[in-house]
């Protein structure tokens, strides 16, 4: 399916800022499940935008605005062809790379809450990895309540599960931690999804050499309506936007608008 996507980030500063550096991971990466066919980028105030790939192969856009300004607008839009495949093949035949995704990372250190959930789930878990993936994902979906504002970008999997609340990032972290406890390589994926007004996060788990995408927030398998920007061990590797600016007095407000529509349909009106 051909999907037109648009990711738009608007920053407003309460006081003029300068030396604003930004690093964005909001470019769909090419995988077995998706190919980027068109891309355009706009930044205001106008500045040279550089691009590169990071250590995990995720695309980055980055740049710098030296002059004083009070707002920043970045729009990335383009077209992605999704194949509808439910998995990606693992790229590294030696399997060493899989161990990157079995070790606990900053957000996915299991504590008592996760360990007891894992023990409890072990009693009913199917024997095969894929079966367990579905089993754990359902548990996360059933246990957690989707409640924006209860957690923030620093919330770990353990904290989120203790609260039993969170957003897609927390759902993903909890599921990843359970999978890693079970020895199943699991990674965090960030991107867009049809019908979702913000960027989204889900999980990819490696079962018998294939990376299956699963969206614990919506309890869905990741299909051709998802566009992946990046993957990594957890949120930290996949932050869609990172940045810093000079002026300690300035308070930043961020607005994100995204859209994903099949190419033959008209784009939803922009806010």
């Amino acid at each position: 399916m051909l999907l037109d996507f648009r990711y738009r980030m608007a920053l407003e500063f309460s006081d003029p800022v300068e030396d604003q550096y930004f690093v964005m991971r909001c470019i769909p990466r090419d995988t077995d499940r998706q190919k980027l066919t068109e891309l355009s980028t706009e930044v205001e105030p106008d500045t040279a935008v550089r691009s590169d790939t990071d250590g995990l192969g995720n695309s980055m856009l980055y740049g710098l605005i030296r002059e004083k300004h009070t707002s920043f607008l970045l729009t990335v839009s383009g077209t992605v062809e999704t194949t509808g495949s439910l998995y990606e093949e693992h790229e590294d035949p030696s399997a060493v790379e899989l161990f990157r995704y079995t070790a606990p990372s900053g957000y996915t250190q299991p504590g008592p809450e996760l360990l007891s959930a894992y023990t409890m789930l072990a009693e009913t878990a199917p024997a095969d990895d894929y079966g367990r993936l579905i089993h754990y994902a359902r548990y996360v979906r059933d246990t957690m309540e989707y409640l924006p504002g209860t957690t923030d970008v620093h919330t770990t999997a353990e904290e989120a599960l203790r609260l039993r609340k969170g957003v897609c990032q927390d759902y993903a972290h909890v599921l990843i931690t359970l999978l890693r406890l079970a020895g199943i390589p699991a990674r965090y994926a960030a991107g867009l999804m049809r019908g979702e007004g913000e960027s989204h996060a889900w999980v990819e788990a490696n079962c018998s050499g294939y990376w299956y995408g699963i969206d614990p927030t919506n309890n869905l398998l990741v299909d051709d309506s998802y566009i992946k920007f990046s993957h990594g061990r957890d949120y930290e590797d996949c932050m869609v936007s990172r940045g810093i600016f000079r002026n300690p007095r300035a308070i930043q407000t961020m607005g994100i608008a995204v859209s994903v529509v099949p190419e033959d349909q008209e784009a939803a009106p922009q806010q």
């Binding site: 980055y62 990157r100 810093i244």
Partner: protein, 438 residues
């Protein structure tokens, strides 16, 4: 040497004169204190040194090859020499450094290798420090001051002059520089090692800078001077990886330089030492260093590790649990003498808890035989009595065009007669280290 003891007062006076201090936080308050200096040097004979030197060159060469490999192809893991868990769960392993190519392929330019001499006369490696090993400035300035206070002591001793360290450091920076100024990046004057940062800047001619003095544009690093921006080619940074660049590492770092890491990835600046080196000086990886030497160099490892057990391996775990009281257990995530536990010092309850912890998190700990290391005499406060204390030696290995071991080193001793822990942050003192020429 006896001569030197008589001049302790003069030496201490000179140490004060030159502000040879290190900072310490006590109850959250920053204090500067003198680093207690003991005038009796550690003396290492030529033959003994030659052996140590050859071993260290080999070891650091292998460690540098390991770092290039681990952030590249990972052959050593693919070939089954090191289990991948030890790489990816190391807190020093940085995903951001994947694929990083360092200028001239060097990641650990300044390596501080800690050794102890056992009562069997053999030298053992305690740990490798490949991030920002500090301390070289102390024996460097101490030598200078001792020669001033007691010139007679040095007449006819054939002690290798150690005052070439700034030159070695400068050569290393020049060799890896991508063109431009050499700078020393300090986290600030409230850093424990600020004296060293400013002293090296003075002695190497590098510019001492704070994070806000540097700026990155078009993936190149510049020093902001009153007369405009000047290109920087090499940064001897004394800021830890985590805080180096808020765009690549800890986003909340206030002492970083935004864009610095990307400038390095683009090959536009050399950072000494490279970020990500923590994966090679991890206490868990230590066990594998002799295997690295064999793997990369095809040579037998010339340095001795202390006999080490990894509870990660079932066999080793069993040994550790059976011989718990004879071993020293180290938490791989801790540094600076913290997270070190001697099995025989624990109460019954604590021991049981600890054993449980090892069972649940085997990867987190290593266990080592307690090496009975030789004591060195230090001069007691009365200025006459000699008292024995535990001491280690940090040797400095600089990798530039060649791998060179500085003919000196920092000998640290514990103040406490029962303690094996010699870190300055835990109240120890230091000695000069003399390497004899013949």
């Amino acid at each position: 040497m006896q001569e030197l003891n008589k001049h302790v007062k003069s030496i201490n006076h000179l140490l004060e004169r030159y502000g040879v201090r290190f900072g310490i936080y006590k109850d959250g308050v920053f204090k500067e204190q003198l680093f207690p200096f003991d005038p009796i040097p550690r003396v290492i004979g030529k033959e003994e040194w030659d052996e140590i030197e050859a071993g260290l060159i080999q070891r650091v060469t292998a460690l540098n090859l390991f770092l290039s490999d681990i952030y590249g192809e990972k052959k050593i893991v693919k070939d089954g020499v090191i289990p991948p868990e030890f790489i990816f769960s190391s807190s020093g392993y940085l995903t951001a450094c994947e694929g990083l190519k360092t200028p001239k392929g060097i990641a650990s330019h300044i390596s501080g290798i800690d050794l102890v001499q056992g009562k069997d006369g053999k030298w053992y490696i305690l740990e490798d420090n490949l991030r920002i090993p500090s301390g070289a400035s102390y024996p460097l300035i101490a030598r200078d001051l001792c020669r001033t206070a007691s010139p007679g002591t040095f007449a006819g001793t054939h002690v290798a002059d150690n005052r070439d360290y700034p030159k070695m450091l400068r050569d290393t920076m020049d060799y890896v520089s991508t063109g431009g100024l050499n700078v020393i990046l300090t986290p600030g004057r409230y850093n424990a090692a600020f004296f060293e940062h400013s002293y090296f800047a003075e002695k190497t001619g590098a510019v001492l800078v704070y994070n806000t003095d540097l700026t990155v544009e078009d993936d190149k690093v510049y020093l902001k001077t009153a007369a405009g921006n000047q290109r920087v080619g090499a940064i001897y940074r004394r800021t830890s990886d985590e805080y180096l660049d808020p765009l690549a590492f800890n986003p909340e770092s206030l002492i970083g330089v935004p864009g610095l890491f990307q400038a390095m990835r683009k090959g536009n600046v050399a950072i000494l030492n490279a970020p990500g080196n923590g994966v090679a000086d991890d206490k868990g990886i230590y066990y594998f260093v002799p295997k690295m030497v064999e793997y990369y160099l095809g040579e037998e490892c010339k340095t001795n590790n202390a006999p080490t057990y990894l509870p990660y391996y079932e066999e080793d775990k069993k040994y550790v649990l059976d011989h718990f009281d004879d071993l020293v257990i180290k938490d791989v995530a801790e540094a600076g003498g913290y997270g070190v536990v001697f099995g025989n010092t624990l109460t019954k309850e604590k021991k049981a808890d600890f054993i449980e912890l090892i069972k649940t998190e085997p990867r987190r700990f290593i266990a080592q035989e307690v090496i009975d290391f030789v004591d060195l005499d230090i001069l007691d406060e009365d200025g006459v009595t000699l008292i024995p204390r535990k001491a280690d030696l940090r040797a400095y290995v600089l990798t530039g065009e060649d791998v060179r071991v500085w003919k000196s080193g920092l000998t640290r001793f514990s103040r406490n007669p029962d303690s094996f822990i010699v870190n300055s942050s835990q109240g120890g003192g230091f000695k000069d280290t003399w390497v004899l020429q013949h």
